[in-house]
């Protein structure tokens, strides 16, 4: 798999340009913060009627990553659904699509703050998934090491030859990796924010998503 290769807790991992993480040794693919059903949730709450194509767009990209990586284990790192009701708003073909992707693979839903509880859908539901030396959870917790988390939707801003570029990114330090949001209708939190600057160690790298996956020192507060 092309991407940015690095080691965390002695484990070789690859950050893909799509925003997914691949663990070749285990054939494990991890994505975070899909926020499926976001458009529907906003509408349900009397908000704007965003284009209802966000679920299929997210699934299309996920499918491409699963096929090209030939992953056998899929970990959705929390906030997979925008809320617990959002899952019910998925169209039949979208539900079938997920079932199709699950077939023959082991699929783990990690709970997130948006979807804190079991979802009526195949797969295993967990709060934390430990696969030593790594552990997968939604919200990073200080003091852990070998941690793979999401939640913050990190994005990096760079000034390149006078042009200003903003991209979702992975954040990596010696203890943890924070994944970017994978869902189509998601915004981002700048790495310069207090939350991310205080979470990540001084040596932290930001790994940019996109066609070419590069790493830069994480811009901080």
């Amino acid at each position: 798999m092309e991407g940015y290769q690095f080691t965390l807790a002695g484990t070789s991992l690859t950050a893909l340009g799509s925003g997914a993480l691949f663990w070749p040794e285990k054939r494990l693919l991890c994505v975070s913060d899909l926020h499926l059903g976001k458009a529907d949730r906003m509408m349900r709450r009397g908000g704007p009627m965003l284009p209802p194509y966000e679920v299929r767009d997210t699934l299309m990209r996920l499918e491409a990553d699963i096929f090209s990586s030939q992953a056998e284990i899929i970990v959705c790192l929390g906030d997979s659904f925008d809320d617990l009701q959002a899952e019910k708003s998925l169209r039949n073909e979208e539900l079938l699509w997920i079932t199709r992707l699950q077939a023959g693979r082991s699929w783990i839903w990690i709970e997130g703050n948006h979807d804190p509880g079991p979802i009526d859908m195949g797969g295993t539901h967990l709060q934390i998934l430990p696969i030593p030396p790594l552990s997968f959870r939604h919200i990073p917790s200080l003091g852990e090491s070998g941690e793979i988390a999401g939640h913050f939707h990190p994005k990096v801003q760079l000034k390149l030859q006078g042009r200003f570029i903003s991209k979702p990114c992975f954040l990596l330090d010696s203890d943890r990796l924070v994944l970017p949001a994978y869902g189509t209708f998601t915004g981002g939190l700048k790495t310069q924010s207090v939350e991310l600057s205080s979470l990540m160690g001084l040596e932290a790298l930001a790994i940019l998503t996109g066609k070419q996956v590069d790493a830069v020192p994480m811009p901080r507060l």
Binding site: D40, G46, M49, P51, P52, Y53, F185
Partner: protein, 801 residues
């Protein structure tokens, strides 16, 4: 006098005032369903508008809303209130006057709905919201007159369309309502009258005497005019001399950045420390108010300003207006000139300062147009559909509506009289369920259809969100700039978020005439410290960039065709003569192309004379074509008159690049992934309610909004490219930032008349394009000297002696 009471007559006598003829005419025809007054600044327009109301209210006040006054500016509403209270007090009338704008507290707004004043002063946005309340019929019951001030400015913007829609609601409630339009001098008063009354022939147009012709000229010290640039810094000493000779001077600039830079250097040269202030739309509101009141009290000798002072407020004793840079548009120039000598019947005095050599031609053409009273204006297009979507939602907030009735009502406005039922239905569908090809929201529709055929909000609570989102002016996302140090440091103004994001600690920039150093970005505030010792590094601002009007471009071309050099400085004449012997001058109804090699690059210069936006688009489209032909285009630069493209290989057959079909095809392709489209989409989507601007209780941060509107745009482009929002966005971009309409018009009138001059070296007319920065130039003496040296070298290369 027949039309006014004893009391008014005595008051006028006491003040030794005599009503102007147009003020009397306005009184005479005040019972007509509509009236339009065309009058220059200072002709007592506001009094002419209000006098009939005051006369009627002498005996009938206290019976609810009598007169609604609408102004495009919040500040103007407040100012008018002050100006009205004076005569009301002197006349001893019991008339209640209140304003209602975005700044009015919700407590006062509630009270106004319960007990409306006699006269309510408001803005189009606030009026739109007011019509959306369930109790609108009660609020507007008894309303007699509506006065639309500065209607010429509203006519040209979406806010005018929004206003006409709101008025159609009110007319539905009070059919006898009398409409009054107050306008500055415009090229086509009939169009404005039609706009106000939807083409019914019920609107007498009164035209005030324009007074003596203005005393206006070009700055006569025109030696060593710069070859390029737009700031007019070379003229600072002359401008200071003029300020010294006059009581109060307004110095207009075309952009905020130029105003900042000019102000900064004006103060460096202001040895006598004349009190001179700065006023533009990016400055902090309080700072602007301070400048305005100092001005009214006569404490200032000059104000450096931008379009923020184009409209409104009477400015006391201004006796000179200076316009820095080519005026770009004759109508605006006339309105700016009118700012001087606000006493009616005295000639206004104005000086135009061309910023570079080519601008002398434009300035002379503009002066000629002013003297011939030839004003520019583009015909207004049909009312935009995003504003209609917003209106439909607001109507739904006020209660259930029948689509047939609403369609009729909308078509009765001057903005939407050509609206088709198909477009209307599509807008209604967008408001109901999003209008997506994929039917997703059946359960959560925003509007539901009642069995009786009427539409209503599914969730009445959503009315609050809809009202919060109202507005047609798209605010650029801005961040406040404050001085660091003490908590809640002094606010200085606002800068564009995109600009703020490019700053790193230590960068210096200009704001409010001060050089400040960027310290940090905290939440939504840019913290800075004062650094007067430093040269400002960067200066960019948002704000409209004017583009030269068709009328002015045509006048310049006509002068070229006649070799009419009157009024031009000798240096400019020599330059144009040289151009005409080395190559040719651009002419009307033809397109001049020049190709020449220079410094290992091959250049193509396109003299389209279609304004900056369209010349920019031409640059993008033609470089795409060159790319296709593998000629290695490297870049381009555009001005209001020309585009210069440079490439690795010679461009042998440039004529063939201008086939309209090819350009249109390229446009389709290029547009969809273009940043202009994304920007237009953001504005369209916000107005029509697809993206929310304000959330109850919190303001969405600008950065997140930018991000998500691009994502929504991309999603629609991928899955629903024919969606209403995409269609509206395209229409918008074609006439606005992309301005392809003007390219099409030019190419159609040119036909086969494209002339290609193959030159051995650059031509005199193309030389300044090599110096064009493309953006407001960065400061520094060295840069100026380099440009100057380079200019000399370029000119001698072109054969000038």
């Amino acid at each position: 006098m027949m039309y006014i009471s004893e009391r008014f007559n005595n008051w006028l006598l006491q003040k030794a005032w005599r009503l102007h003829p147009h003020q009397i005419e306005m009184l005479e025809t005040s019972q007509r369903p509509a009236q339009l007054l065309i009058a220059p600044t200072g002709a007592g327009k506001t009094l002419a508008g209000f006098l009939p109301s005051l006369c009627e209210l002498e005996t009938t006040s206290g019976n609810g809303l009598h007169t609604l006054y609408i102004s495009p500016l919040k500040a103007l509403a407040a100012d008018i209130k002050r100006n009205l209270m004076l005569p009301i007090g002197e006349l001893g009338l019991q008339v209640g006057v209140e304003d209602r704008t975005g700044d009015t507290s919700s407590h006062v707004k509630r009270r106004q709905r319960a007990a409306p004043p006699d006269i309510l002063l408001t803005t189009p946005e606030s009026l739109a919201i007011l019509t959306s309340y369930e109790d609108a019929p009660r609020i507007f019951a008894g309303l007699q007159r509506v006065i639309v001030d500065e209607i010429h400015a509203l006519y040209e913007s979406k806010r005018g369309d929004q206003l006409m829609l709101a008025l159609s609601r009110i007319l539905g409630l009070v059919p006898d309502l009398r409409r009054v339009g107050l306008s500055a001098t415009v090229e086509n008063p009939k169009a404005i009258a039609n706009f106000l009354t939807a083409g019914s022939k019920i609107c007498p147009i009164h035209t005030a005497d324009t007074g003596p012709p203005p005393n206006i000229k070009m700055l006569d010290v025109l030696e060593n005019l710069p070859w390029s640039g737009a700031g007019g810094r070379y003229a600072i000493k002359n401008v200071l001399d003029q300020v010294n000779k006059h009581k109060t001077t307004l110095i207009f600039h075309n952009t905020r950045a130029q105003a900042e830079i000019f102000f900064h250097h004006l103060w460096l040269a202001n040895e006598e420390a004349l009190p001179i202030a700065l006023h533009h739309g990016s400055l902090d509101k309080q700072q602007r108010h301070r400048v305005e009141s100092a001005m009214i009290q006569g404490q200032l000798r000059a104000v450096v300003c931008t379009g923020s002072l184009d409209l409104g407020i009477d400015w006391g004793d201004v006796d000179l207006v200076v316009q820095i840079g080519a005026p770009k548009n004759v109508k605006r120039l006339v309105q700016r000139i009118g700012r001087a000598n606000h006493r009616y019947n005295a000639p206004s005095k104005a000086i135009i300062v061309p910023a570079n050599r080519f601008e002398t031609v434009e300035c002379v053409a503009a002066l000629e147009a002013v003297h011939e009273n030839d004003l520019d204006g583009e015909p207004k297009g049909p009312g935009p559909l995003d504003v209609l979507c917003q209106h439909i939602l607001l109507v739904a907030c006020s209660g259930p509506f029948h689509p047939d009735t609403l369609f009729q009502e909308v078509c009765s406005t001057g903005s939407y009289d050509t609206l088709t039922r198909k477009d209307f239905d599509e807008c209604l569908e967008f408001c109901t369920n999003g209008g997506y090809a994929l039917r997703q929201y059946d359960r959560w529709q925003r509007l539901i259809l009642h069995p009786d055929g009427r539409y209503a909000l599914r969730d009445p609570r959503s009315a609050l969100r809809i009202r919060l989102n109202v507005g047609t002016i798209q605010d650029t996302d801005t961040l406040k700039v404050r001085l660091q140090k003490q908590k809640g440091g002094k606010p200085l103004g606002e800068i564009e978020e995109g600009f703020a994001a490019t700053l790193t600690r230590g960068d210096t920039f200009l704001i409010g005439g001060e050089v400040v150093r960027f310290e940090s970005l905290r939440e939504m505030t840019v913290e800075v410290s004062r650094r007067p010792d430093k040269q400002p590094k960067i200066a960019t601002f948002m704000g409209t960039k004017f583009t030269t009007s068709t009328l002015l471009c045509d006048r310049i071309l006509a002068r070229f065709a006649q070799k009419n050099w009157t009024g031009l400085p000798t240096e400019t004449i020599k330059w144009l003569e040289l151009q005409s012997s080395v190559s040719r001058l651009p002419m009307p109804d033809s397109l001049l192309l020049e190709t020449f090699p220079r410094q290992n690059r091959h250049h193509l210069c396109i003299y389209g004379f279609v304004g900056r936006n369209a010349q920019q688009t031409l640059g993008l489209l033609i470089t795409k074509q060159l790319e296709k032909r593998n000629l290695g285009p490297l870049g381009f630069v555009a001005t209001d008159y020309a585009t210069l493209i440079w490439a690795l290989d010679p461009i042998d057959d440039p004529k063939s690049l201008f086939a309209l079909d090819d350009l249109e095809h390229g446009l389709e392709h290029w547009l969809s992934e273009n940043a202009f489209m994304k920007r237009s989409f953001k504005s369209v989507a916000t107005i029509s309610g697809l993206i929310e601007r304000n959330m109850p209780g919190q303001r969405k941060s600008g950065r997140q909004a930018t991000f998500s509107s691009d994502i929504i745009y991309e999603t629609l482009r991928k899955y629903d490219p024919d969606h209403l929002m995409m269609r509206v966005t395209k229409t918008e971009a074609m006439t606005g930032l992309v301005d392809f309409a003007r390219i099409r018009k030019m190419l159609l009138s040119v036909g086969d008349n494209i002339e290609h001059k193959r030159l051995r070296c650059l031509s005199p007319l193309s030389a300044p394009l090599f110096l064009e920065a493309g953006r407001v130039p960065v400061e520094g003496q060295a840069v100026d000297r380099l440009i100057e040296q380079e200019a000399e070298a370029l000119m001698s290369e072109a054969g000038s002696t």
